[in-house]
């Protein structure tokens, strides 16, 4: 009897997090989400940090492991691929059947192909006067291929700015960036926040 082969991508989820500017808190948010999924929901999670410079390298004290044929780090239950380029990231997504959290860092045009693979995309930006232009530009760029993205959420930092105006212009609801604690030592409050972000 011939059994039906289960596709590797069945039942998995890809969550992408990108920022309009550097320093918007993408890595912080992505780590919190990855650690929540690993620790609370007991999912197998791969964290991909796309970009040339790794923000997380200094934190990885464990020795590298080989995962999906590539060198990776295992930290608190999640597998971390650091400073991966787009091709490597695509290969990992293709080969893996686990939940994937992609930290894009600052948005670049080259990430568009990868962004369209995400089931959920979170865009983080600041509404400070000197950051608004970049935020608008990124929103314009991403919205061109919006139909391919399953679910898009936009977060703004609570410092300043007119979120309502921005929201009206791009016809998208905006959510205020929550204050999350240490993503590697989460507290009950952080768990509640991330759960709300994912399912609330």
């Amino acid at each position: 009897m011939k059994g039906r082969k289960r596709s590797k991508s069945a039942g998995r989820e890809i969550i992408g997090i990108t920022g309009a500017n550097a320093g918007t808190g993408c890595t912080h948010m992505a780590c919190s989400v990855a650690n929540y999924l690993v620790s609370v929901e007991k999912r197998k999670v791969i964290y991909i940090e796309v970009g040339r410079i790794s923000q997380l390298y200094d934190l990885m004290q464990e020795t590298p492991v080989i995962c999906e044929g590539q060198a990776a780090y295992l930290c608190k239950g999640a597998v971390y691929f650091l400073s991966a380029d787009v091709r490597e990231a695509e290969e990992t997504i293709r080969n893996s059947g686990k939940t994937i959290v992609i930290d894009f860092g600052e948005y670049e045009k080259a990430y568009d192909g990868l962004i369209r693979k995400c089931g959920r995309l979170w865009i983080l930006g600041s509404l400070l006067p000197w950051c608004t232009n970049a935020f608008e530009k990124v929103m314009d760029e991403i919205r061109k291929g919006e139909n391919d993205i399953g679910q898009m959420s936009v977060f703004y930092s609570p410092a300043a700015g007119d979120a309502a105006k921005f929201s009206r212009r791009f016809r998208t609801p905006m959510r205020c960036m929550p204050a999350l604690g240490d993503p590697f030592s989460m507290k009950e409050k952080d768990i509640r926040i991330v759960r709300n972000l994912l399912y609330g």
């Binding site: 929540y36 620790s39 007991k42 030592s185 989460m186 009950e188 768990i191």
Partner: protein, 430 residues
């Protein structure tokens, strides 16, 4: 409502809303303090000329009664702003804790009686509260506060038909029928409150409380406890007596449940033990040390469970949520922790260990770990017949307990209760 006080208060959130009343948590613009604002439509207020609740609160001064802060009246509404007690209702408190110790119960009961007695002893106009129920009782730490004086009324010497029918489960029979009322209506409600709390108390406390509740909740008010003072005196006497002969606590803090192999029902027995211990008044909680969050998986599928501050509650079950390494563990609560270790070969460090094994041929352990022969280890046979249990007992050369067939681990059946009570009496607290 928002426009009435918008210059002085910001509405934080609506607590309660009905066709006639809106209660909201408001923050003062002056000092950022939180208050409770209650807005009632005029045609629905008790008296057409003045808002009685505000008048009553203005006269009262007791730590368990909210202070009146502000009042306002327009063509359609009466608005009162009163002190906000930050805490949870007695209903929520008992749902989360699932257990109330004898001391706490007596302390809460005394505080409720003191507040009601304060109202009854007001001169020249004694006040009847007339709507005592767990939802109106706010627990703030160890103190009890009584809110919502919307049904309260002044007791006069000539006729007291207030047309306040109270809440079905807590109102006195004469109140439900709309007859004239006196202090005994509140005594009845206190009796019902005691009965409500006793449902979560240890069995012995329930037994001791029974005469008190019985006398306070007699349907015939002429045979009912006449005054709150009598109840209060009895409760104080009881509190004094229990304080004297107490402080002899057991030293057991951990009970480990280990299975001989996978699938013998280790988690099932650990859950049943927690439920039994909590029901018996021992205050126990479940901690999972296996790789699989079995208990959580069962509970999350059940809508009746509640998660709060790293703990999961369901009926009498209480457990610590087993998060992964990226989450800071919550401090363990006081009480007995029942640790589910799954299939472990090493000797666990615990005050008592229950070693669970299956009776089927394929479940019989080929080689029993040496530590299972120690005196502190209680062998328990699960999912096996009497004959299989006897066979195992003969093989092991010691008696073992047989867990009765039990489908739902969260329900303590009589057979399960009997087994654990025997085990506790003979093995854990001999």
């Amino acid at each position: 409502m928002s426009y009435c006080f918008s210059d002085r208060y910001d509405v934080v959130h609506i607590v309660y809303e009905s066709a006639t009343t809106v209660a909201a948590l408001v923050s003062s613009k002056k000092d950022d303090a939180l208050y409770l604002m209650k807005c009632v439509r005029k045609h629905a207020a008790a008296s057409p000329t003045n808002f009685l609740e505000a008048d009553l609160l203005r006269k009262l001064s007791h730590p368990g009664i909210p202070r009146l802060i502000d009042t306002y009246e327009d063509r359609e509404h009466y608005v009162i702003v009163e002190e906000y007690f930050c805490g949870e209702t007695l209903e929520q408190y008992l749902l989360c804790h699932q257990h109330i110790s004898q001391d706490t119960l007596v302390s809460f009961a005394i505080q409720i009686c003191e507040i009601i007695q304060y109202l009854h002893c007001r001169r020249p106009d004694p006040i009847l509260y007339l709507d005592l129920k767990p939802a109106h009782t706010i627990v703030c730490g160890n103190t009890i506060n009584l809110i919502d004086y919307g049904n309260a009324n002044i007791l006069s010497s000539s006729g007291n038909t207030f047309q306040n029918f109270g809440t079905k489960s807590f109102a006195a029979p004469e109140q439900k029928k709309g007859r004239d009322l006196d202090r005994r209506a509140d005594v009845y409600a206190i009796g019902r409150m005691l009965r409500f709390m006793a449902g979560y108390a240890p069995f012995l406390t329930r037994l001791k409380l029974f005469p008190l509740i019985f006398c306070a909740t007699r349907r015939n008010r002429n045979r009912r406890t006449a005054e709150v003072g009598i109840l209060l005196r009895r409760l104080r006497k009881w509190e004094k007596k229990t304080k004297k002969g107490k402080e002899q606590k057991h030293l057991l803090t951990t009970v480990a449940v280990v299975g001989s192999e996978h699938g013998v029902g280790c988690t099932h027995i650990a859950i049943a033990l927690v439920c039994y211990l909590n029901r018996a008044g021992f205050f126990a909680y479940y901690r999972n040390e296996t790789d699989q969050p079995v208990a959580e998986r069962i509970l999350r599928a059940d809508a009746a469970c509640e998660q709060k501050d790293g703990y999961i509650y369901h009926d009498t079950f209480r457990g610590i949520l087993s998060y992964g390494p990226a989450v800071e563990p919550s401090p363990p609560p006081e009480g007995i922790q029942v640790v589910d270790l799954g299939c472990q070969k090493e000797k666990p460090e615990a005050g008592a260990t229950i070693y669970v094994c299956g009776g089927r041929i394929w479940q019989r352990p080929e080689e029993r770990p040496a530590w299972t022969k120690d005196s502190g280890v209680i062998p328990l046979c699960n999912q096996c017949s009497v004959f299989e249990a006897r066979y195992l007992a003969a093989e092991w050369e010691r008696g073992l307990y047989r867990f009765p067939y039990h489908k739902d681990a969260f329900v303590v059946t009589a057979a399960v209760g009997y087994l654990f009570s025997r085990m506790i009496r003979k093995e854990i607290f001999p």
